[in-house]
Amino acid sequence: MATLNLKGITKIYPHSGGQKKPKKGAPEKKTNLQVTDKGVVAVQQFDLDIRDKEFIVLVGPSGCGKSTTLRMVAGLEEISGGELYIDGKLMNDVEPKNRDIAMVFQSYALYPHMTVYENMAFPLKLRKMPKDEIDRRVKEAAETLDITQYLDRKPKALSGGQRQRVAIGRAIVREPKVLLMDEPLSNLDAKLRNQMRAEIIKLRQKINTTFMYVTHDQTEAMTLGDRIVIMKDGFIQQIGTPQEVFDHPANLFVAGFIGMPQMNFFDAQLKNEGGKYSVSVGGCTVELSEEKQANLTAHGVAAQDITLGVRPSHMVLSKEPGNTLSATVEVSEMMGSEVHFHANAGGKDVVVIVPTMDAEGQHIDSFHAGDQLNLTFSGSVCHIFDHEGRNLEF
């Protein structure tokens, strides 16, 4: 139960002996982290205020700095710049054990020579808690996580899911102010991951604490988080509720990262005729919704070349060609209640999601490779990005 304030948090990994600042023209690395004279900047100016009992999810691709940020909050990494407050107290130079936080690791990090009970009791023993209190707390946590029957087992006799429950148990017995989770479900198979995700949601309702959760899986981020922090190359890209970031992505990266299948992007033109904004893509011109009109007008956006984003589920099939975007089906994926068509629209890959049945249970005509699709979309669901990738509505 605590608030968490990160103010301008920065992490710089200094150059080690053999590793110098790359010369100009050197081949680019996988990530585009900024390299300065001081070193590689893994996290830049991270500002975030986390409310009491809030569930915050940091999400982003590998190397974006999300785990580093979490480790700085835990005290496992030194903070190079900025200030970290837990419950209003500056924590920059406080030892991990004195921060009153608990952490669940991707690798579970259970002590292999101790039983489940001993693993969970370990942090309490270190705090010199009375034995009966330790016993009560361990049993209560085991009950919550449904691992009571495994208390006498060693971790190696448990399955991945059970191990992760024990790891969570070890974290919650202490009733920490903040519970940090570093990709806790990444080592589990898909089915178990879904199950554990639901468990974490239930757990969250049972224990009153502030959560900070790191994942690279956007589904986890969307389902678990009260708010999501999307990161890339050490920078925060957007902070918002799952619905906000899905409906109003701040930039191209967020638009592409959140949502499955990925959002479709087109090269398009933003037109402004008589104060009315419309977008034009491949022979299809769509007038924007009132809300979007207002946003663009408020920002005084001029007509320009843009990148237009439309989610696959927002693409609409039109029976007649006309004011539509035409595309050729390349692959169709039957998903049960819907079909994903992968099509080519003027050299751009487009994904279109079409339900297999209408509301009356009638099968909708299917398409095959080589068939022509006439696509259109509503002016309220498209997203407009400038040439730098910024959402023009922001």
Binding site: G17, A74, G75, L76, E95, P96, K97, I101, A102, M103, F105, Q106, S107, A109, Y111, P112, H113, F122, P123, L126, R127, K156, R170, R174
Partner: protein, 280 residues
């Protein structure tokens, strides 16, 4: 056809293994048999059957005032036991320091320790001897024990073992759980290192038990001699009064503790050799 061939291979493998096992164990057998024979019987030549002088030889060894064998066994046990304990603990501690912490000159420290590995004991013996004489520690068991704290080979083994079997997440989890650094080492790291410690403990014990060079330089008084020196003294004695039965008995007494230690720790040794190669 295929079955027959694999059967033949199995027989061949067993024959080879039997020969190898025979070659390894035969000398122990001869040693024990000879320890039961008197000097006169031994001079008659080889015999595969035990003699009747076991008790006599044992009494001769125990009661020889010139060679306080029990004292020797005790000295050897003290030196080897202490060496095994401190070498494993401090090497693991050093390896942990290099493995778990990031500090300036970490790589240099590692390289420096590795450089000591290539230095033979004989090269440093003279300097070592002068040092302990100046420190007033000559003719004492301490100089046989204390230097084993710094053992680069054991350090390297421990470091490699940590790289394969000690995830850093565990150390970090312990830190967050509230464990102090030393307590993390003693309560989390050491139990995980048990197989590596057992392997190195037995190697060090055996090495120290059989060590002749340094004890021969350091020890002068009789009641501080270790077993290898006593056996050498006996062999160097007057040839005419040379009792072979006694010597064999003495060597038997010298190897018994090693066999016991090996039997106690063999489970760990096998585990230690195979562990780390397979990820769970």
């Amino acid at each position: 056809m295929e079955n027959k061939r694999s059967h033949g291979r199995e027989i061949l493998a067993h024959v080879v293994l039997i020969i190898l096992a025979f070659m390894c164990l035969f000398f122990f057998y001869i040693l024990i048999i000879n320890a039961t024979r008197s000097h006169a019987q031994l001079q008659l030549g080889f015999s595969a059957l035990p003699g009747s002088s076991l008790v006599t030889n044992f009494k001769n060894v125990i009661n020889d005032p010139a060679i306080p064998i029990l004292r020797g066994v005790l000295n050897s046990l003290i030196v080897s036991g202490c060496c095994a304990a401190i070498v494993t603990y401090f090497s693991a501690l050093t390896a942990y320091g290099i493995y778990a912490y990031d500090f300036r000159l970490k790589k240099a420290a590692f390289t420096f320790i590795m450089a000591i590995l290539v230095m033979p004991t004989q090269v440093t013996a003279l300097g070592f001897l002068r040092l302990i004489t100046n420190m007033g520690m000559d003719d004492s068991l301490l100089p046989l024990i204390i230097p084993s704290i710094a053992s680069p080979a054991v350090f390297y083994f421990m470091h490699s073992y940590m790289q394969s079997s000690l995830p850093k997440d565990l150390i970090e989890a312990a830190r967050i759980d509230g464990s102090m650094e030393f307590s993390t080492f003693n309560r989390i790291v050491l139990p995980i290192m048990k197989p590596a410690i057992a392997v190195q403990a037995i190697f060090t014990f055996v090495g120290s038990w059989n060590n002749y060079f340094i004890p021969a330089l350091v020890i002068t008084s009789k009641n501080k001699q270790t077993l290898p020196i006593m056996i050498a003294t006996l062999r160097g004695a007057d040839y005419m009064n040379f009792d072979m039965g006694k010597i064999y008995m003495m060597i038997t007494i010298a190897i018994v503790p090693i066999i016991i230690i090996y039997l106690l720790l063999s489970k760990f040794i096998v585990e230690g050799v195979t562990l780390g190669g397979v990820k769970e």
